[in-house]
């Protein structure tokens, strides 16, 4: 770990005890941080380990006979429902993220860049969904889907899940993109206009590229929230099954190790994609 240490240029030499104390004080935060990160990974490691378990009935206790085994990794779709639910989760996540990111970015620009009647109401309307417990949102959506929208042909299933996910992703997108737009230096746009760029050119050549990392971040956040959502999904899904719902429902019968394989693989894929994006970003950055 490279910690930023600043040495005070002073002639006096502290005692060894003092120096150990200073060393620890300087690194205390970093040591604590690493411990907390390890704690975050404990159940991920457990999930990984039990993907190699050669279990008999249910994947709860480790069976030393024949473990570790690669058989679940060789056949990740072997257990019924695992891959179907995963595909559903990915599809829902992609659609919800796309719609929420577009709508949320537009809203964020409106709320930061313009003063207009109803701006306060717009701020509240986008904030309150984040302050609403998931169970309340799920319950209210279920009520309206069952009692209202089913009459116009919208049955519980894939599309009701997508609709619900867009609602909660939207708020997070607005907040994330708003922060990015707010932190932008207005002089950059003024400079562009001084250089005779029209409003459209200024937007696409200056504003948009500066806000883009915020939009990408918001999209990633949306996708991970949608992909991992269970409570709202459980309320509005009807007989449709997403990956978290599949795991929850199969808990009583015993979760197949293939679910561990899929869970851990998604984790690896996500980490690799983010690292790849960062490496590309760093390579592009002019030194």
């Amino acid at each position: 770990m490279s910690a930023v240490t600043q040495s005070r240029g002073s002639a006096y030499k502290p005692s060894t005890g003092k120096r150990i104390q200073a060393w620890l004080a300087d690194r205390f935060a970093m040591i604590a941080a690493v411990l907390v990160l390890l704690y975050l990974f404990v159940p991920v490691a457990y999930t990984f380990a039990f993907s190699f378990n050669n279990y008999k009935k249910s994947n709860i206790t480790w069976n030393p006979e024949g473990s570790p085994t690669l058989k679940h990794w060789k056949n990740p779709c072997g257990a019924p429902g695992v891959c179907d639910s995963l595909v559903k989760s990915l599809e829902i996540g992609a659609i919800a993220t796309l719609v929420a990111t577009i709508l949320g970015t537009l809203v964020a620009f409106a709320l930061v860049r313009y003063k207009f009647v109803g701006r306060g109401a717009g701020n509240v309307l986008t904030f309150v969904p984040m302050a609403t417990p998931e169970i309340v949102m799920g319950a209210s959506l279920l009520t309206i889907f069952v009692q209202g929208f089913s009459r116009v042909g919208l049955q519980l299933g894939f599309w009701t899940i997508v609709i619900a996910h867009i609602v909660f992703c939207l708020s997070f997108v607005v907040v994330t993109v708003k922060a990015r737009v707010q932190s932008m230096d207005p002089r950059l746009e003024e400079a562009a206009q001084d250089l005779y760029a029209g409003p459209t050119a200024t937007f696409w050549k200056v504003t948009f590229p500066l806000v883009l990392p915020g939009i990408v971040g918001a999209a990633m956040l949306s996708f991970s929230l949608s992909f991992d959502d269970f409570i709202i999904t459980n309320f509005v899904s009807g007989s449709e099954t997403t990956f978290p719902k599949f795991v929850y429902v199969s808990y009583l019968r015993g979760i197949p190790a293939q679910a561990n394989v899929v869970g851990f693989s998604m984790f690896v894929i996500a980490v690799s994609l983010v690292i790849l994006a960062q490496v590309i970003g760093n390579a592009r950055k002019p030194k």
Binding site: S2, A3, V4, Q6, A25, D26, R27, A29, A32, A33, V36, L37, L40, F41, V42, P43, V44, T47, F50, L103, L106, V107, F109, A110, R113, Y114, L125, F127, P129, M130, A131, T132, P133, I135, V136, A139, S140, L141, I144, G148, A164, V167, L170, V174, P186, E189, E190, P199, F203, S224, F230, F243, P244, I255, A259, F267, A270, V271, V274, Q278
Partner: protein
């Protein structure tokens, strides 16, 4: 999409009335799709839920209701399920405290000490999301189980009251703390990142020791993040039922979320009760948020 963008304080575009009208209507155009979505799929469902919470049952026909203004639902739900409400607030409160205690050093280290490791640490915080939180909660159940390593060690040391972790409130609180930790870390980190390290150095230069500098300079400057983080942790934790379901016991650790879920899905005729409970929970949380933001808040939040 062509957007006319004015920097704050920039002079209005020097064109005729056409551009002026466009600039006037543009914010509404930008706002409209998102606002409509929230109106139809957030506000209207809540209104519908409220009307359901006031419905009465046809006597003798469980599952059939008629439109009514029956506030008795609220009274009945609150008296019957008061312990569950209490548990939700208590467990969420304890979990929020622990999440804060664990998150602050992590966010602090990322903002000031991590250097080029910062990006990697950020990934480490978000990545576990992708191993479904249900899977991770079930993993905790096995890790904390009686025959698991944690309970065994604690029992050998005779420090575990009752001898169990799972099926008790401890496991539920531990699960809530774990699951909502990232929602605490990220806002605190975001506000610490904006703090200029030179301001903190200045504290040292003015002969404040490390702790005093932290207490009088760093912590106050990170308050917006702490505020957002506690809300983003407390709110979902108070409404959660998955942790209580998977880690807790059948009787003594059920939270209000469990009641709402079972009234909706398992109890015939439970809709009005579930709706009344949902609405009370939401009102309670919004009231707390309001007081909390008033007390500590900045307008940065909204």
């Amino acid at each position: 999409m062509s957007a006319v963008v004015h920097g704050p304080g920039a002079p209005a575009a020097p064109a005729g009335p056409d551009t002026a009208t466009r600039a006037k209507f543009l914010p509404y155009l930008l706002l409209l799709p998102g606002a409509l979505w929230l109106l139809i799929f957030f506000v209207i469902p809540l209104v519908q839920l409220f009307t359901v919470s006031l419905q009465s049952q046809f006597p003798g026909y469980p599952g059939y209701y008629y439109r009514d203004v029956n506030f008795k639902n609220y009274w009945a739900a609150l008296t019957e399920f008061a312990p569950h409400f209490g548990r939700s607030l208590l467990f969420a409160g304890i979990a929020t405290f622990f999440a804060f205690a664990l998150s602050y050093p992590l966010a602090y280290a990322m903002a000031f000490k991590a250097g080029r490791w910062r990006g990697l640490m950020m990934i480490c915080i978000i990545a576990p999301f992708f191993t479904s939180f249900i899977l991770r909660t079930i993993a905790w159940r096995q890790i904390l189980a009686d025959e698991g390593p944690v309970a065994k060690v604690l029992n050998t040391l005779h420090v575990l009251p009752g001898g169990h972790i799972t099926e008790t409130w401890m496991a539920v609180v531990a699960g809530l703390t774990y699951n909502f930790l990232p929602f605490m870390v990220l806002p605190i980190y975001a506000s610490l990142e904006r703090v200029d390290p030179r301001v903190i150095e200045a504290g040292g230069d003015l002969y404040a020791n490390g702790f005093t500098t932290f207490r009088t300079v760093t912590l106050p400057m990170s308050m917006p993040g702490v505020l957002a983080g506690t809300l983003l942790t407390f709110i979902p934790a108070a409404g959660d039922y998955v942790n209580a379901e998977l880690l807790g016991s059948d009787r003594s650790t059920k939270m209000v979320g469990n009641v709402i879920e079972s009234q909706f899905f398992k109890v015939p005729g439970g809709y009005p009760t579930a709706a009344a409970l949902s609405f009370t929970l939401m009102a309670l949380i919004l009231a707390m948020v309001f007081v909390y933001v008033r007390r500590f808040g900045t307008d940065e939040l909204v």
